[in-house]
Symmetry: C2
Subunit: 354 residues, 2 copies
């Protein structure tokens, strides 16, 4: 394993913005902490990371990020427990996925030590920024962008790895209504859908806007071939409960291998819930909604945690899901957040102290 | 049509870099001129463009371009004729396509006058940068990036439209060998393949690198469903000549509607060449290569103009294309470049004086 040759340098900001922040009323991802981590890839190697005051980035107009979308990112959270200790959730999984994304986007892989030491050093400095308000956390955004230049569609020769943090409240307010997509797609077979590549998200904006105009919050993506299978919901993996079985689609090159998804699957099994990982057809979900066997659906992802779905639209018809007093969504969300916030035993070994 | 309320402001650079440039040995897209055009979209409107010295761009770390790949671009060229006059080729088509891309990427459309007046004002200032060396031209890169901020996967509220220019030689040196792709894909049905969206290009880098390692220059993209149809070649549309018929695939939501492609189709018809716009299967091309009816293949695009293909690989077998003394590629390239460089009559009305 490649390790850093020098210690991370820290340049502290002269003043703090923390007292301007209303921690009781945090939006999602729009307030940033005092510092950020920056690590440059030049001359064929990742250089020693540095922590500097949060500040603008300056790039050449010909930087490849602007032209060819060569960028990847991760999304993580830091949680504070009642004793004031800070925790991460399965951070090594984020590092592994960052490198999977890097390979597909022809970006040089980042050594594990750069990621983990960079992250923990930054978080130790920003610890006071981790909210204590229930349901809030410090959203962490590690990302890599192509800073190398040239109007030539080929990989850049220079990159920047950056970690920025934003104290955040909840991603969605309340339950969401979703539209099952019949026309647009988010990813191709053999494409980059399984990577957290920037371009995957911009492509979702327009179809999502159309859905919002029709009164939905989010699109449920289906396969691009026949729009036959339920695949993902924006930046969330998707689960359906039919009767008492919890079902989610298998990962593939079209679907992001979500850390929340796989944790939820493990917790559900631990809870004695029947789970199935298999293709879910749109028809099956519509049929189950009609005959009342579709008990619930929810999205799962780091940002939104578990986001219950109130109903869905398909081919101009709206289907409402029942209000359950004992939903899997509520039960699983409690289990996972109890682990994340160190309120319960972590038999899986997922918590990681900062 | 929305028009600018104020004239474009010009801030001239104090010194010029033009004397450092070796115009006889230009690479592609790696030397930039003295000025660039910048136009900001803020508060719901495109502001008056300004021309400023070519310089770095400064953005917040949370700018959406870095996280969600919200960017689009165009590629154009300015040509100088023997009398020293400067010409563009069908620039209104580039503007139209920029706005088609903008719609799909949820970017506000740019009024035509901003594009055309911005472009011509900049080019008048940079006229000396248009190379006179045969085969060289001034490559022009108009692009829009999301400068608005937020770690929330939704469209930005601010954008930058920029035009930068690079005096350039040829994109490929000589004929190219291509690999017909069997695994990876560049675009989905219902996706963003028809748009010049940044993310489409980064997704091509890794499969193209794999092809380069195997000794090819470029990938021929096939449909993501069964890899059955020949679709595009990197940043070029693709043509095949079987017997004496020139064939290219139809445009679709997976394929960029190339300006070179459609111009070549018109010129070919004018030349009395039989043309067909229809799906081309991989099998058909392999079969035609085997029985000798595949006379030639070439890529067509602004950057590479017409790029003849020397041979292709498919399922581990290499197929060579014959050396023709009278190829369509040579004939059509001469016709189109004669129009572009004002060396011949332009019966189509495609030339546009700067
Ligand atoms: C497309 C997509 N699917 C699913 C997820 C959920 O993944 P995770 O649970 O690792 O956050 C995300 C968000 O990270 C995503 O962007
Ligand atoms: C994917 C793709 N296909 C085809 C083309 C050719 O289009 P045009 O002839 O308009 O340059 C380009 C380049 O612009 C491209 O990026």
């Amino acid at each position: 394993m490649e390790t850093m040759t020098n210690a991370i340098t820290i340049e502290k900001s002269k003043t703090s913005k923390i007292h301007d922040v209303d921690f009781e009323n945090l939006s999602f991802g729009s307030t940033y902490t005092d510092h950020m981590l920056v690590c440059d890839y030049v001359d064929g190697a990742w250089q020693t990371p540095k922590i500097i005051p949060y500040q603008p980035i300056t790039l050449e107009p010909s930087a490849k990020i602007f032209h060819y979308g060569q960028s990847i990112f991760e999304g993580m959270k830091a949680y504070k427990d009642e004793a004031g200790k800070a925790w991460l959730f399965r951070p090594l999984e984020n590092h592994k996925r960052l490198n999977k994304s890097a390979e597909r986007l022809a970006i040089p892989e980042l050594p594990e030590s750069f990621f983990i030491e960079g992250l923990t050093t930054l978080l130790q400095l920003e610890k006071d920024w981790i909210p204590e308000t229930p349901g809030s956390s410090l959203y962490i955004r590690p990302f890599i962008l192509a800073s190398g230049t040239g109007f030539h569609a080929s990989p850049a020769d220079a990159y920047k790895f950056i970690i920025a943090c934003a104290p955040s409240g909840s991603y969605f307010s309340g339950k969401v209504r979703v539209l099952i997509e019949e026309k647009y797609s988010r990813s191709a077979n053999g494409g980059v859908g399984y990577a957290k590549a920037g371009g995957n998200y911009a492509g979702q904006f327009y179809p999502t806007q159309l859905a919002i105009e029709k009164g939905y919050n989010q699109v449920i993506w289906t396969d691009d071939n026949n729009h036959e299978y339920i695949e993902e919901a924006g930046a969330m993996n998707i689960f359906a409960r039919i009767n008492d079985t919890l079902i989610t689609g298998p990962t593939s090159d079209r679907i992001l291998d979500g850390i929340t998804r796989k944790s939820i699957l493990e917790i559900a099994k631990d809870e004695g819930i029947d789970t199935e990982v298999r293709n879910i057809t749109v028809n099956e979900v519509v049929q189950a909604a009609k005959d009342g066997t579709l008990k619930e659906m929810f999205g799962a992802g780091t940002a939104a945690v578990i986001s219950p779905i109130a109903g869905f639209g398909y081919k101009g018809v709206d289907y409402d899901l029942p209000e359950l007093s004992e939903s899997y969504a509520t039960r699983l969300k409690k289990r996972i957040t109890d682990i994340q916030y160190n309120r319960a035993e972590d038999k899986f070994g997922w918590r990681y102290e900062v």
